[in-house]
Subunit: 553 residues, 2 copies
């Protein structure tokens, strides 16, 4: 019998990392091991330092990435009892833009004694939003200079992206900017640690770094117009840009030892987690919208055309799968909103009931919310608790509840929040379609697909069938797929992604069909949602005023 071969998908999320060990031939998962980051999301103060962080800061500790990497890989291999030679490749997916400043030798500045107390020396997580003023200015200057590349990004630049975060670093903490030899994505930093090879993954560069396959990066003149000292930004970037799934290099001696693997084991060029999930859900064709629904939701769609869609965060050639233009849209908070709600707004009697019935509080609220009909609560929300990414690309927008009465119940507020995120998704689908990128079907993955009420609401509100991806770990599986392609067919892997997906991705088993009656009520509410959304993004700038006051104090 032939030796079984495996690839390993390493998935670095917001709160934790995981290793997924997959049989390359069958797609069977041999082992999956997760581990939470010891420092989690650093948003109140730096580890061991009492000083509160400025508002909108959200950091991570790079040591957490390496610790979880080592622990989960070793554990997965050991539990599955796999020999080093059976592992033909490792793929990496990561949140983005999660960026850090480093020395030329790769040392993160936050690990230098001198800088560890400085918040700007630490990796800034994707949802770090302090660079909003810089993002606003980058858009304004690009508009003034009529920069042609602005249309690639729907006319907007997000405060979450590397260039906005780097400009904020230069302006708010010039000592850190000057001290950093390299500013790079966390994904590329981890891959660099493993291989000794420094590269910028094309997915991160394309979607979050203003890079275009044929046009490259924006000009030095544009950067200088933002700030004369910013013109040298590209000298601080990793240099070469490589497409995900290409072989980045081999595992170096140090990490081979730490992981108990062979030196030279193939490491593929990393990919952003949401894009990886698209592949892990088996989506490799045009016209299928893939939604990865978790703390936030990313919407991935491929097309044979390069269309510049207003309000869509990015379109990148080969960004998800080779030969297709990959479009990315997103909702900046989804599960995070429900998490905020259960943490801050659920009374103790509900907690007691959930405990007594051995339910999660989310399950209890969903059960109670299932008892009511669309519209029955008279509540409507704008799902902007973490700003609006698509189509407005504005982190300073904020959440809104309307229709509150003295009889509004927690489960009704919870349901209104779920509905608001579904309205947000419908707005994104319509944004694509109106501008000529068709959405023929929808596949969903991520943690939220386990909530039946939520999935039914999404189907009812969009009026579309939702197919649920069968893999519970789509991002990690996508990374394992890329590793199998990077290893290549000559080493027991695959020559392309389509072949890899056909063998390694499990077939979906669950779909949600829209209910026509519910859709009618939701059409009415959606119109109200859109009207509010337009009013508070175009006509009334109260959310900007409130965000300004919040930051002032």
């Amino acid at each position: 019998m032939e030796m079984k071969r495996y690839t390993l998908g390493l998935d670095f999320g917001t709160e934790s990392a995981r290793s997924l060990l997959v049989d390359v031939q069958t797609g069977e998962v041999a082992e999956a091991v997760s581990m939470a980051y010891a420092d989690g999301v650093i948003d109140s103060h730096l580890p061991g330092i009492a000083t509160p962080l400025p508002p909108d800061f959200a950091l991570q500790n790079p040591q957490d990435w390496l610790t979880t990497l080592e622990f989960t890989v070793r554990n997965a291999l050991q539990k599955a009892n796999i020999q080093p030679e059976q592992l033909i490749g490792i793929g990496i997916d990561f949140t983005a833009s999660t960026i850090l400043p480093a020395r030329a030798d790769g040392t993160p500045l936050c690990q230098a004694q001198r800088w560890r107390g400085h918040p700007d020396a630490w990796p800034k997580l994707w949802k770090h939003h302090a660079a909003q003023p810089q993002a606003d200015r980058m858009i304004r200057v690009a508009e003034e200079r009529r920069e042609s590349w602005l249309k690639h990004y729907g006319g907007k630049i997000s405060s979450e992206w590397l260039p906005a975060k780097a400009l904020a670093m230069l302006e708010d903490a010039p000592e850190i900017y000057n001290e950093s030899a390299i500013i790079l994505e966390g994904a590329d930093w981890v891959a660099w640690q493993l291989t000794g090879v420094l590269a910028h993954n094309a997915c991160g560069a394309g979607y979050k770094g203003l890079w275009h396959k044929r046009e490259g990066f924006p000009s030095r003149e544009y950067l200088a117009a933002l700030n004369p000292l910013f013109a040298d930004l590209y000298e601080k970037l990793p240099g070469q840009v490589l497409p995900p799934g290409e072989r980045l290099g081999g595992l170096n001696e140090e990490w081979a030892r730490r992981l108990g693997l062979l030196e030279g084991t193939v490491i593929s060029v990393p990919i952003i987690d949401a894009h990886s999930a698209t592949l892990g859900a088996g989506v490799t064709r045009a016209g299928i919208l893939f939604m990865i629904m978790g703390t936030s939701t990313c919407h991935m769609l491929m097309s044979e055309q390069e269309v510049f869609v207003r309000g869509i965060s990015g379109v990148v050639e080969d960004g998800i799968a080779r030969g297709l233009y990959g479009y990315e849209a997103g909702q900046a908070a989804v599960g995070d909103i429900f998490g905020w709600f259960v943490e801050h707004c659920v009374p103790s009697e509900y907690m007691k009931e959930a405990e007594a019935r051995n339910l999660s509080i989310h399950d209890l609220l969903s059960e109670k919310a299932s008892a009511s009909l669309p519209g029955q609560s008279g509540l409507l929300a704008l799902d902007w608790w973490n700003g609006n990414r698509t189509p407005l690309v504005d982190a300073d927008l904020s959440g809104l509840f309307i229709g509150c009465t003295l009889t509004s119940k927690p489960e009704e507020m919870y349901r209104a929040l779920i509905e608001s995120t579904a309205f947000g998704t419908r707005w994104i689908i319509e944004t694509f379609e109106i501008q000529g990128v068709p959405v023929n079907s929808i596949v969903a993955g991520g943690g939220l697909v386990k909530n039946n009420l939520l999935m039914q609401i999404y189907a009812d509100i969009t009026g579309r069938e939702f197919t649920v991806s069968a893999s519970p770990q789509v991002s990690a599986l996508g990374a394992a797929l890329l590793a199998s392609v990077a290893a290549g067919s000559e080493n027991g892997g695959y020559s392309n992604l389509q072949r890899a997906a056909a063998c390694m991705v499990p077939k979906p088993v669950q779909t949600f069909q829209p209910n026509t009656q519910n859709k009618k009520t939701y059409d009415l509410l959606y119109n109200e949602y859109l009207r509010l959304g337009r009013y508070f993004s175009e006509d009334n700038h109260i959310m900007k005023t409130l965000a300004g006051l919040r930051k002032l104090s």
Copy 2:
């Protein structure tokens, strides 16, 4: 030594009733006894009947009024060890419009076996809002017919008022309307029980019954235009209208026995609770705004002029004190909003902390909220959880939260709710002043004045000094004042309210001064509040749509 004389103020509130026994000469409180209504506010189902009530229903049980009356009066007299002949009068104040249908002999229809299962046979509490469609129609028809009296009520008729509730009864439950010989205020029903004398108190009739001292009630033609069967409404009302503080009659034999008092003890004509509180706070002059701040807030203001103020619920000659025009404005929910919040939106860890530190949850939230500055949370609310009474008079408006983020904390939401109610008060003050009714100073009473953070926020937001009334039971004290005037100086009482107040009302001891720095930030937020308020009452009718959906299901 002369025999001490006392009057008793009977205060019927939303959740409970109380008896306040007051020394007529000194104002010293001899005893105060409270008792909650056994059935409380009936808003989910009738006592002993599982069928849910329709939306917007809020009922009371008349048996609760009598039970609490008997218990608290007997208890107060006994504890204070007062002889029957020392009690020279009883005054009554009551929520309004809290109305009930009764037989000619005074039996409430809900106590008839045949009707007890019918929700419309029960007393409808002031905050029962199911008559909104009728109120809307009453305004429209009055406008069409150019009824001159509409201006007395700021151009609006509230769904809380007797005529709107009676019209809804006719149209939604004609069998109850036809069966009822009398439709009357709870206040007048209780006074009728005690004395055998049936009258309509001028305060209720004037503020909540479309009655005017010189012009009387609206014409039969107007009523017939609403509904031909409604033309006979006035035949169902008590007939004579008497001013509060006048002697209604003497305690009848049955109730003298039940209460252990002398037959013939003076009972004064009742008054609405908020109007009574004005007197109990010592406010008997023009230009002093009195706010009674509890579950809802009433704003009472007197003037020597009769001005028809747009958006002000009513102006009634002699409505509060003789010789002055009494203006009433209101916020339909204040403490009720904070109550809703702590019931539905406070996480268990806060409850545990409050318990461990032996604080009320309101005190804990206020303490935490005190730590932040105005605007710091970036949250703003519209305080319309129970609609807007002044200046919009619309029960279908609903509450709104804006500025929510993933870091919004419960104490920040709580503070935003307090601020929203203070913005609502500022809007009312400006509505008065812009239209020519000056507000020279402010006196506050009611349960909420104990909250220092809240009072400071009110001072900061309005930019005015707030004087806190020294009596903790202003409504009941006002009723005791009226009883002393009804008894008259010849029986040891007083010849007029001013003399009674000078002797019986304690001097205020606490004031809150506005902080200029806070006022500046709040001016900015108030402008945003006003803009939202105008938008959602004039330009965007989403709240009506949501209320419609809520009622549909």
